[in-house]
């Protein structure tokens, strides 16, 4: 191929590329989409409507005792309305994956996100080991319920927030602040005692 022909081809490609770019610019900035084609309310109507919406949003916001957990920073806030009562360093989900050797089940150890509520509270709780705990340890899954019960690993108290997830204590306090759990929120002994004594069943817990 001679030099002149190569330059011509490159030039054609360049012109085509620039044409497409030009169309892209035109499409992106040709104008704002039309808004509000219906009948417009008056200024006073809008003001009143906005006030109602703000009040409705305030009505939804968490009130009373509730818990907020930041799983990225591993920080738990015990709040009463807007006021922070206690701040605790916690451990939350590792995000690791475990596959059942049969290939039928997969567990992802994330701490769930969103709004939940405290469904149960227990003193000196026992851990009812789920299947994944046995698989992870390379053990056979027991047939009897009593073989699943393990004492003393969840600390002095546990607050359940549904689907088998708990805020509970830990033997591994040096790991507080790290993402090491199977989805539960581990808390240090003193903070856990305060949580148990302060948070009623039905209180909301927000995890993000």
């Amino acid at each position: 191929m001679n030099k002149g022909r190569l330059i011509s081809i490159l030039l054609v490609f360049f012109i085509l590329f620039m044409a497409v770019e030009g169309i892209g610019y035109f499409v992106a900035f040709k104008g704002s989409p039309s808004e509000g084609k219906g009948k417009m309310p008056s200024q006073s109507q809008l003001k009143a409507k906005n006030q109602r919406l703000i009040a409705a949003l305030r009505g939804l916001s968490p009130k009373g005792i509730h818990i907020v957990v930041d799983t990225a920073e591993n920080i738990l806030l015990l709040k009463n309305g807007d006021k922070v009562i206690r701040r605790a360093v916690v451990s939350s989900g590792s995000g690791n994956v475990l596959e059942d050797p049969t290939g039928k089940r997969v567990w992802i150890f994330d701490t769930p996100r969103g709004e939940f509520k405290i469904e149960s509270k227990a003193k000196n709780p026992n851990w009812i080991k789920p299947d994944w705990a046995f698989i992870e340890e390379g053990e056979d899954i027991p047939k009897s319920f009593k073989d699943r019960v393990e004492e003393g690993v969840l600390g002095d108290y546990a607050l359940g927030f549904g689907k088998g997830y708990f805020v509970h204590g830990t033997l591994y306090t040096r790991l507080l602040g790290r993402n090491v759990t199977h989805g539960c929120v581990r808390v240090g002994d003193e903070d856990l005692k305060v949580l148990y004594e302060t948070v009623p069943i039905g209180a909301k817990i927000y995890l993000f």
Partner: protein, 205 residues
């Protein structure tokens, strides 16, 4: 003449106030829709220059936006669901290998944490929403290599966005893009806290 100027000024101020109220109304309506659900949602508020993590109308955490670049004409309020997060170095979940036998005490002493943590999250990534919005999050440039990366991203922005606009026009799909700069740590926190499937509001008054 003075009267005419005064009347024009009053009309202009009234229409500005009305437009502001109308935009606020759209935003509040959108937020109330999200706040009724028990899910975490995000607000990208370009007026306050803030990214907010919210639930039930309450801000759980907020991150200041250090820089904004817009492509196309996004509506004042856009309400959408995150469908995909893409990054050059996407964090990979670690797979747990079941133990063959019980660890000895010695092995437990040398225990290494294998987990996805905040430090593993990318600080430069793209969020794709179901209404066609592309939201690029990048760290505020710091140091020589930071500025080089920033220059490359800016160049790519002006080369790739027109192509995407043209392609989406042909496919008759809506398209607009937004690039925000936040601190490196905040970029990681946003990536962590924003799972696919969650919803967000872009407020661009």
């Amino acid at each position: 003449m003075k009267k005419l100027i005064l009347i024009t000024l009053i009309i202009a101020l009234c229409s500005c106030a009305f437009a502001g109220l109308f935009e606020e109304n759209q935003f509040l309506e959108a937020e109330l829709n999200l706040a009724k659900k028990p899910n975490i949602y995000f607000v990208f508020d370009l007026e306050k220059k803030m990214v907010e993590i919210k639930v039930r109308g309450t801000t759980l955490r907020e991150f200041p936006i250090e820089g904004v670049r817009l492509w196309g004409s996004p509506p004042v309020v856009s309400y959408s669901k995150l469908i995909k997060k893409t990054a050059l170095l996407k964090p990979k979940r670690k797979e747990i290998k079941p133990k063959k036998e019980k660890d000895s005490d010695e092995e437990q002493d040398t225990f290494q944490i294998e987990a996805l943590e905040l430090k593993d999250m990318p600080s430069s990534y793209k969020l794709l929403f179901d209404n066609g919005m592309r939201l690029l999050v990048s760290p505020k440039p710091e140091g020589f290599f930071g500025w080089i990366a920033h220059a490359l991203r800016t160049t790519l922005w002006y080369v790739v966005r027109p192509l995407e606009s043209a392609i989406n026009m042909l496919l008759k799909r809506p398209f607009y893009a937004l690039r925000i700069e936040v601190s490196k740590d905040d970029a990681r926190r946003i990536y962590w806290a924003f799972p696919e499937g969650n919803e967000a509001i872009l407020y661009n008054p």
